[in-house]
């Protein structure tokens, strides 16, 4: 029993790491733009597809495909960010919902139209199992956890020390003031969005080897998982997101392991509704934003 508990905890941490890398991008975008990006999961999908494509068609190695995938996602994010997201500064909240929903539909179905709707088989990555605390685990999963830790350390350093990071923090606190003190809000929004989307792409290609299947609709699932996390973490709160992602990952793992696999997907949204009813500002105080 204890054995199983430990294993589920480990599974939960791995799942939580993936959620965390995806969710942090969405929460950062919300922080600076006050827009819930319904297309966020699509960048996860694009990353996975890009990596799958170059591995299948050009026989590239997995590490090269990671670089390509993240670069392509970033490029796409620059285009979307420049033409759409940037223009949503100060726009009514509904516009953000509709526009990102539109982007999501376009990207998702473009992938289906280009590559067909069926599942693709992802070859690549480090799928050999290793023993860790007596539990079997693919090397790739360990990589995911390590990358997750690095991403969060990196973000924390950036937000605290870099000029860009400071601007991001400023914009997330008060847009009007930033314009007065000469921060280019639009460019901060653009780059925050690009960073966030690229992280989603990165986590897509990181999880592809263990998730195996690649298909157009995979992004929507990810977006839906991310929403409860960013609410729980407190919208715009980076550290809160990490903790919330871990909580959800572990909770899902326990539900799948002890109650039934079929109930796993409900965990997130039951949490979401409870959170909204009980603590709409998330589990953590607003002061710790960024």
């Amino acid at each position: 029993m204890l054995n199983l508990l430990g294993e589920q905890l480990l599974n939960g941490i791995v799942t939580g790491s993936v959620y965390a890398i995806v969710a942090v991008g969405m929460t950062m975008t919300f922080g600076v733009l006050r827009v819930i990006n319904f297309a966020h999961g699509e960048y996860f999908m694009v990353g996975t597809f890009a990596s799958w494509f170059v591995i299948e068609k050009f026989d590239l190695g997995y590490p090269q495909s990671v670089v390509f995938a993240v670069a392509l996602t970033a490029l796409l994010a620059i285009v979307v960010g420049y033409f759409l997201m940037r223009k949503m500064v100060g726009a009514p909240f509904e516009n953000g919902v509709l526009a990102t929903l539109g982007v999501s539909l376009i990207l998702q179905n473009l992938a289906v139209a280009l590559f067909g709707g069926s599942y693709k088989f992802f070859n690549g990555g480090y799928i050999e199992p290793v023993e860790l605390f007596g539990y079997g685990l693919a090397q790739q999963r360990i990589l995911i956890v390590i990358v997750c830790v690095l991403v969060f350390i990196g973000l924390d350093l950036m937000v605290t020390y870099s000029r860009m990071g400071k601007s991001m923090r400023a914009v997330s606190q008060n847009i009007e003031c930033c314009e007065i003190v000469g921060i280019d809000v639009q460019s901060v929004v653009l780059w925050t969005f690009v960073i966030g989307a690229s992280l989603a792409g990165l986590s897509g290609v990181l999880t592809a080897p263990v998730n195996v299947s690649v298909y157009g609709g995979m992004g929507e699932l990810i977006t839906f998982k991310t929403l409860p996390i960013i609410i729980m973490g407190g919208l715009g709160n980076v550290r809160g997101t990490l903790i919330a992602a871990m909580i959800l990952g572990i909770a899902e793992s326990f539900v799948a392991g002890f109650i039934g696999l079929q109930f796993r997907d409900s965990v997130g949204f039951v949490t979401l509704i409870l959170m909204l009813m009980w603590r709409p500002h998330g589990l953590f105080s607003l002061q710790s934003r960024f």
């Binding site: 029993m1 054995n3 199983l4 294993e7 589920q8 599974n11 791995v14 799942t15 289906v112 067909g116 709707g117 069926s118 599942y119 088989f121 799928i127 199992p129 539990y135 079997g136 685990l137 693919a138 999963r141 263990v210 998730n211 195996v212 299947s213 298909y215 609709g217 995979m218 699932l221 899902e252 793992s253 326990f254 799948a256 392991g257 002890f258 039934g260 696999l261 079929q262 796993r264 997907d265």
Partner: protein, 398 residues
């Protein structure tokens, strides 16, 4: 905006749009009224089961080409109309209605996904269109057919009841398994097969320890596999989706189940790509399938060769086979009836005796074909055939 302005211009605009739609309506009706035999195929062409649909369509297409190039049926050529069900009942019903109403098909080969076929049955019954199932295996389909009610539904495919029985029989008698964990897909097919397994558990003195159903699109099975590992189960009964099998197999390797607890059931365990994904997990897997490329009869081998020639060397799967064979079955029935009239073909099918690649096919009074189920075990990275079984079905008394 004033409230009274709301209806302004409404009649004109709406009239214009209606006129537009209606013009289109006339156009669509003006489609050719040629003498072709119109055959509809409802299958998942998009969505997570699109691979099945692609095999099915290509199998049927191959058969149609063979028949047409041999002169057709009484001089008439067969023309295929395809409808995408996305493996969902709602889309499937829409597609079926479209095939019947717009494409005016007289015959339909039903969906691979049982849930869709079940939903299609009342529609073809109303429209008096012959539905021949080539790949959906839920027994309820033919419970309700023939003397069970739906006169226009036939099935040329073994049912899950036979499948569950065959798998359980082999696993308990040959492998001495008594404790099973269930990990099936959440659908009429997955849940249906498990219900029949439960029906026979007592006969084979075995038990199900845990029961989990996964959703279409699920990718993380580690938690449930960890649970199964700790549960003392000797095998995992899986009636699953072909696309998910490699994911599960890989995660079985990760969690240390591979080589210890085999998969038994159905889910294209024998597909080369699946075995390649995780050979250690699939060795020892037991599967009951309607057909597999290695089936050693001349007609079967001929089909594989033709399919590979036609489609760049790709090996067909059982859906390709069953659709190919079903088109031939329909053609043969038309010849036997010496007619392409739906009602005559329907009645002739009840009496047909057709030589298929897996043996002679006849239909029982529930319009269910008596076709064998092939049992295989993966040994050393390749499927090895253990036999073919024709199970008889105990129809529930209405």
């Amino acid at each position: 905006m004033t409230l009274s302005g709301m209806f302004k211009g409404f009649p004109l605009k709406a009239a214009a749009l209606c006129a537009l739609a209606l013009t289109g309506g006339f156009l669509s009706q003006a489609q050719a009224q040629d003498g072709d035999i119109r055959l509809g195929i409802v299958s998942p062409n998009t969505g997570s089961n699109a691979r099945y649909g692609s095999f099915a369509l290509r199998g049927a297409q191959l058969a149609v080409e063979e028949i047409n190039s041999a002169g057709g049926i009484n001089g008439k050529k067969i023309k295929i109309f395809s409808g995408d069900s996305q493996c969902t009942p709602v889309e499937g019903v829409s597609a079926t209605q479209r095939l019947i109403q717009e494409d005016k098909v007289g015959f339909i080969i039903g969906d691979i996904c049982s849930s869709v076929t079940l939903a299609m049955q009342p529609i073809v019954e109303n429209a008096k269109v012959l539905l021949v199932n080539a790949a959906s295996s839920n027994p309820a389909i033919t419970y309700k057919a023939g003397v069970g009610g739906f006169k226009w539904t036939y099935r040329n495919y073994p049912t899950d009841e036979v499948r569950s029985l065959v798998v359980l029989d082999y696993a308990t008698k040959q492998k001495n398994f008594t404790k099973f964990a269930v990990l099936s897909v959440d659908s009429d097919y997955g849940r249906g097969a498990i219900n029949f397994t439960k029906k026979y558990l007592e006969r084979f003195k075995s038990e199900i320890i845990s029961e989990d159903y996964y959703k279409d699109g699920e990718v993380d099975f580690r938690s449930v596999l960890a649970k199964i590992k700790n549960s003392g189960a000797q095998a995992i009964i899986m009636y699953g989706l072909a696309d998910t099998t490699p994911i599960i197999a890989r995660q079985m390797v990760e969690t240390g189940l591979a080589g210890k607890i085999p998969l038994i059931g159905n889910g294209e365990f024998n597909a080369p790509a699946t075995i390649k994904a995780a050979p250690t997990a699939l060795n020892g897997a037991i599967e009951a399938a309607a057909w597999l490329p290695g089936w050693d009869t001349p007609r079967s081998k001929e089909f594989v060769k033709k399919f590979e020639t036609a489609y760049k060397g790709e090996t067909p799967n059982n859906h390709a086979y069953s659709h190919w064979e079903t088109v031939h079955l329909i053609a043969a029935t038309m010849k036997a009836a010496n007619s392409t009239d739906g009602e005559k073909v329907r009645d002739a099918m009840a009496k047909i005796k057709f030589d298929s690649a897996v043996g002679p096919i006849t239909f029982d009074d529930h319009n269910q074909a008596l076709v064998p189920m092939i049992l295989l075990e993966i040994e050393g990275g390749a499927p090895s055939i253990k036999g073919a079984f024709v199970g008889s079905i105990d129809y529930p008394k209405n």
